[in-house]
């Protein structure tokens, strides 16, 4: 089989069928999600409650609440643990996603009347829960990182949001998701500008320690720039060539040097997603060797972001992976 695989330019890992994974490549999160699907929330609650590594806590809060609609267990959990920061945090994380479910992922002009009402209401509900979380667990940066998402939805502006970011960073200076959320708020599509977005990414990359996940912000910024070319500028030719530009590819490689390829690589649960983000860029940079290394480290689980930006995430991931593994 190995010989035949080689003939076909594939390796053994590629035979595993890719699948969209709401657990973002994390085994434990996958198992806990299947429990939650049965409305059995106690173990998931305990795991998040015990997590005092802030990156882990945020990762679990997000992945364990990524369900459509309002699962029954959410309010039950809060009712049972009304003075628990974790319970309020989990409900807030879900409310944020639920708000976007009402709004949809399209441009503002495509959002329906009722969608806006629900969107705003759910964001405000999330804010109430997040403020309560911050009150109950003052050391946790996660509620501040999530308040940046509601600030983005409520269009409060970068200046206002940077006060929230400062609170998150007081608790964890290199909180990857807080910085990534702030960067998203600074994108042109959310009322910022390309310059502002890149300034956040570069300022972070310049100061962040080697091996830290915050270096992914550079890759994410370039993906957002490319996305704007496709959907707002409608400049398909420029978008096609974007990642092949010398300065773009160079900056992404430099960020990978400081993170994925560094001996000081900090292995967090979010690493799987970060690999996907860099791999998405490597593929568009036509750097198939770099992409193959990451595919071999990743496995078949597909986080929705960033693969969904190119259409069907599974199809795109599969196509790119096959190309990369061919060498």
């Amino acid at each position: 089989v190995g010989f035949l695989d080689k003939l076909r330019g594939q390796t053994a890992t590629s035979v595993e069928a890719p699948f969209l994974d709401k657990a973002l490549g994390d085994e434990e999160a996958r198992r806990l999600r299947s429990e939650l699907e049965q409305d059995r929330w106690q173990e998931a609650f305990q795991v998040v409650d015990r997590a005092r590594d802030w990156d882990d806590r945020e990762f679990l809060s997000w992945t364990l609440t990524d369900f459509p609609g309002r699962p029954r267990w959410i309010d039950e959990m809060v009712k049972t643990n009304s003075n628990s920061a974790t319970a309020h945090l989990l409900r807030a994380a879900h409310s944020l996603k639920w708000a976007w479910e009402a709004r949809g992922s399209g441009k503002a002009e495509s959002v329906q009347d009722k969608g806006w009402d629900l969107f705003h209401q759910r964001l405000q509900d999330a804010e109430a829960d997040l403020n309560r979380t911050a009150e109950l667990d003052p050391a946790d940066p996660t509620p501040w990182a999530y308040l940046l998402i509601s600030a983005l939805g409520l269009e409060k502006g970068a200046q206002h949001a940077s006060a929230i970011l400062a609170e998150a960073r007081k608790r964890d200076r290199w909180h990857h998701v807080a910085l990534a959320n702030f960067q998203m708020l600074c994108t042109k599509k959310w009322g910022g500008s390309h310059e502002l977005m890149f300034d956040v990414a570069r300022q972070t990359a310049r100061e962040a320690p080697e091996g830290n996940g915050c270096h992914t912000l550079i890759a994410e910024a370039h993906i957002e720039r490319w996305l704007y070319m496709v959907h707002w500028d409608k400049d398909i030719q420029a978008a096609r060539d974007y990642f092949e530009r010398k300065e773009v590819a160079g900056e992404i490689r430099q960020a990978a040097e400081r993170y994925l390829w560094s001996p000081k690589l900090k292995k967090t649960r979010r690493l799987y997603v970060d690999r996907g983000i860099f791999t998405f860029c490597f593929a568009d940079m036509l750097d198939w060797n770099a992409a193959r290394d990451q595919f071999e480290a990743m496995g078949p689980a597909i986080p929705e972001y960033p693969w969904v930006l190119a259409g069907d995430p599974v199809a795109h991931f599969t196509r790119v992976r096959e190309r990369a593994l061919k060498g």
Partner: protein, 560 residues
């Protein structure tokens, strides 16, 4: 008086500036200054006047006949201002203001002081609209007096120089009182560079600090990094004890992030290490060289006269030189360390501020008043009606523009109320927040007018005339701001309309031709009937396919 070769150069300085004004009469000193110059027209000598924060200066450069003539004219017109020229001069000043750009340093002062004191440097001169002839005369009588003035002059004092100013009293310097924001702070503004404003106490070290900081920043940003063209460090006196130190560097939009980082690094390095002996020597050498220049004496006279007027005797540059020569570079660093605690950085929208020391200034009011809530005079499904709220109470007024976004003006802190001919109000708070309210935009708007009439004191009201047409601040004029489903036709609804059309069409065909496949007498009619049905089926299939693409597929995509 100092002996300097060349024509006589003289200045008459009064201890009155825009920091003595309020937002309502802001510009009144400027108006007095302009009216005092009325009648001079064009002269064969150089002359002029200017209003600064703490002083107003009339200057002239000419012969021993021209200069006294100029000052006699100024003194005479100050005693009896040509108020018949008030509107004419106010028009000129409004033109001057319209063409003048607010400097980045003024932007920083406005952020720091709001609409009082030094914050007025960036404010519109509402006094040009509101001030009456009597108020102008009164202002002149109060501030432009012999006891509140100092004259300096180069050359010999002319024999017949008698300036008959009215007597009055020496006016104290108003303390510079910043708004109670947490510092260090930062704010976004439309500026073509990065500025860092700091407050430092009056000292020789502060003067040296400005020089060293400016040179270091210029060296790094322009000569080494090539990021900026203009790099300046400006020191301005705010009151008896405090100075405003403003460090500024411009740059291309894509380079401004690097400009910010470099400026902060220059500041941090100087604060940590202090000035080097070489830098102190450069400062003392520069001052020594200036002291050898006869023209520098004019600057020295100006400073000495101003210090005397402000109530702080000028120690003289010789003493300053010896102090710099004896200075320890570390003391410059210490002054900067203290100043950084008060830093306010202004950056353009393209630049972020992730430095954890800097807190953003609030870009929405942090408090709201309680009282009666008003809604816009618009249908409930209009987004403007959903997002906008007005709360009016006895303490003030809050307008909410959306969740978490509100602007509040407290009546006790209201610095100015502009009243327009359409009965709308523009309220400006002491902190700089501004609210425009047209009662006609709101349901039960007459109640809003009554409440504002009751709470806004007459002395802060300024009649402004007509609103622009169309009014950019109108909340109810313009097409409805409806969300997607508010439209009668939409991709989703179009699909359903198409389905209805197909059903109705098929039904109509059936009415006309109930038995299409029955072999009829007329074979042509039978053939046509069959064709209609075939066409109908094709259209139906195509429509369903269209429906699938526009609706179901879109829905599936949005879910994914």
């Amino acid at each position: 008086v100092a002996q300097v070769p060349g024509p006589i150069r003289a200045g008459l300085i009064f201890r009155v500036g825009f920091t003595d004004e309020s937002l309502v009469n802001h510009g009144i000193t400027h108006l007095v200054e302009h009216l005092a110059l009325v009648g001079l027209g064009q002269q064969p000598y150089r002359f002029g006047g200017k209003v600064e924060g703490l002083r107003t200066v009339f200057m002239a450069e000419g012969t021993d006949i021209e200069v006294p003539t100029f000052f006699r004219h100024i003194v005479a017109t100050l005693a009896s201002l040509p108020v018949d020229r008030l509107q004419h001069q106010a028009g000129i000043l409004r033109t001057e203001a319209a063409t003048r750009q607010v400097s980045p340093s003024a932007v920083a002062l406005a952020d720091r002081f709001g609409t009082r004191g030094w914050g007025l440097v960036a404010a519109q001169e509402f006094g040009l609209v509101s001030v009456t002839a009597d108020q102008l005369q009164e202002w002149s009588r109060r501030w432009f007096t012999a006891d509140n003035a100092v004259l300096f002059m180069t050359g010999s004092l002319p024999e017949r120089l008698e300036l008959e100013l009215q007597s009055g009293s020496r006016m104290p310097v108003p303390p510079a009182e910043p708004l109670p924001y947490q510092m260090p702070a930062w704010a976004h503004h439309r500026v073509p560079g990065v500025g860092i404003s700091m407050i430092c106490h009056y000292s020789v070290e502060a003067g040296v600090l400005a020089g060293v900081l400016g040179r270091r920043a210029m060296n790094r940003l322009r000569f080494v990094e090539g990021l900026s063209y203009e790099v300046t460090a400006e020191l301005k006196r705010l009151d008896l004890d405090r100075h405003h130190l403003f460090l500024w560097a411009d740059g291309l939009v894509e380079k401004l992030g690097a400009v910010r980082s470099d400026l902060l690094e220059v500041i941090d390095q100087l604060a940590d290490e202090g000035a080097t002996p070489e830098e102190l020597k450069t400062e003392s050498d520069t001052l020594r060289k200036n002291l050898g220049d006869p023209n520098f004496a004019v600057h020295q006279l100006d400073l000495a006269a101003t210090d005397d007027l402000l109530g702080r005797p000028f120690p003289g540059f010789d003493r300053r030189l010896s102090e710099i020569e004896a200075m320890d570079g570390k003391s410059v660093g210490r002054v900067l360390q203290e100043s950084v605690e008060t830093a306010l950085s202004i950056v353009p929208d393209s630049v972020s501020m992730l430095d954890p020391r800097f807190t953003p200034l609030p870009n929405w009011s942090t408090d709201q008043v309680s009282g009666r809530e008003y809604r816009l005079r618009l249908p409930g499904n209009d987004m403007r009606a959903k997002l906008n709220r007005l709360v009016l109470g006895d303490a003030g007024i809050t307008r909410t523009l959306g969740p978490g976004k509100s602007v509040t003006v407290h009546f006790r802190d209201c610095a100015l109320a502009n009243i327009w001919n359409d009965e709308s109000w523009s309220l400006i708070g002491a902190d700089g927040w501004r609210l425009h309210i047209n009662p006609a935009d709101w349901k039960d708007g007459s109640q809003i007018s009554e409440t504002l009439e009751r709470h806004i004191p007459a002395e802060i009201r300024v009649a402004m005339g007509d609103r622009p047409v169309p009014d950019p601040e109108s909340l109810v004029v313009g097409p409805p701001h409806k969300a997607a489903s508010g439209a009668f036709f939409s991709p989703r609804r179009d699909s359903w309309w198409l389905l209805v059309f197909i059903i109705v069409s098929v039904r109509l065909w059936y009415v006309f031709d109930p038995n299409p496949f029955r072999s009829g007498v007329n074979p042509t009619a039978s053939f046509l009937s069959g064709m209609i049905w075939v066409f109908g089926i094709v259209v139906s299939v195509a429509s369903l396919y269209f429906l699938y693409w526009t609706y179901w597929l879109k829905r599936r995509r949005s879910r994914s």
